[in-house]
Amino acid sequence: MKILIADDEAMSRRLLQKTLERAGYDVIAVENGRQAVNQICTTDGPSLALLDWVMPELDGPGACREIRKRKEQSYVYMVLLTSKEAKEDVIAGLESGADDYLTKPFDAEELKARLRTGLRILGLEDRLVEAREEMRFKASHDALTTLWNRGVILELLERELSRSHRENATTVILLCDIDHFKAVNDSFGHLVGDEVLRETAKRLLASVRSYDFVGRYGGEEFLVVLNNCDPAFAFARAQEIRNTIAQRPVQTSTGPVPLTMSLGLLLSHEWGIRSVVELLNEADTALYAAKRAGRNCVKVASPCAASDIPGSRVDEPARQR
């Protein structure tokens, strides 16, 4: 465990350092409050600190205040070392953000015991942060596939559409649906169905760039958002996804399950300013057209009759569904 000690007096510093090293701490020793703030506020800076009260440049309480102001990400447990014993001094020290104080000259056993208290507090903080992060993950991800959940992928799509409109770029919507998924569930059971969904999610994630988004839109439907790409790239990527799903069966606990996927593709720049719901409806129409065209294919949603990717544009009957 890293610990910082800040004391302008060389003897105190040496004594603290030796006592703490003997207790198993990894000690960083500095001579004033300013150096203490700089050390603690670095990435991976120590989260345990012993600060002398009276120091040049910046005193202990001043350092506590600055650290509390600057360090918001993770908690730093700070103990003020003081020869001040007056109640008002102690109150001022604790109000500056210190967690505890210790009177100098310190007793080695008391010092170690106080630091163990600090470690318990830091351990508790770690567990709270972990729990918060877990809750944050659960609130934003699909439990089965760990992809973005429906709410989040729609928010991300909305954000990307606004950005591409501002930057005159294109956001691509890919609405993907596993073909005959009901038959998978009916033939192999829902547990195998879940395995298929998890593997599909993995393959989708592996098929896009790190800055694209993949979410679970519904039961066996996935929404892929490709940022800032041209039509040729979008269509190639959609075909690649289709191939990735179809080229080898999913290995499940009951054996291989062959799969295919139908995709509806929409290029945002072709649609002007439309709401997310409208665009998703159009992508859904394209997906439905892909299903009607025999599945395992990609269809492009287009607001105009002209088609730049022959054979892939949605015809009117399909769009009427």
Binding site: D8, L15, K18, S83, K104, P105
Partner: protein
């Protein structure tokens, strides 16, 4: 024949150097003890000079600062008597009791005179 101090008086009188307390502070380890004594030997003359100059200048703030540093150093060595005298000087400095500075400095220097040979003996012991 001198009078033997009563038991209670003996306990109240501050020790020049509390050996037991000093050893406890370094957890009975000679290496940090040697380090502390070496640092003290190097720093003490400089800090004492700073205190003398502050007293000569009748500067309460500087007297308090120099006496505070000396008090810390002496407390670390469990030099109880000199640390207490330094603490009194620190308080006088804070309260700007200028007229008492010289007298307190003399008392401190006397304490230091008694302390230094004991520290030398302690160092010799630690180097054995």
């Amino acid at each position: 024949m001198g009078q033997t101090p009563k038991k209670g008086e003996e306990e109240l009188a501050p020790l020049i150097l509390d050996h037991q307390e000093l050893l406890a502070r370094v957890e009975n380890d000679r290496e940090p003890l040697r380090d502390l004594l070496t640092i003290f030997k190097e720093d003490f003359p400089r800090q004492l000079l700073a205190l003398r100059e502050a007293v000569r200048a009748r500067d309460g703030g500087r007297v308090a600062t120099a006496a505070h540093t000396l008090r810390g150093m002496l407390s670390n060595l469990a030099a109880t008597q000199a640390a207490a005298t330094a603490a009194r000087l620190e308080q006088m400095g804070r309260k700007e009791e200028v007229s008492r500075f010289q007298e307190a400095l003399t008392a401190f220097e006397n304490d230091a005179k008694k302390l230094l040979p004991q520290l030398d003996a302690c160092m010799a012991e630690a180097c054995k």
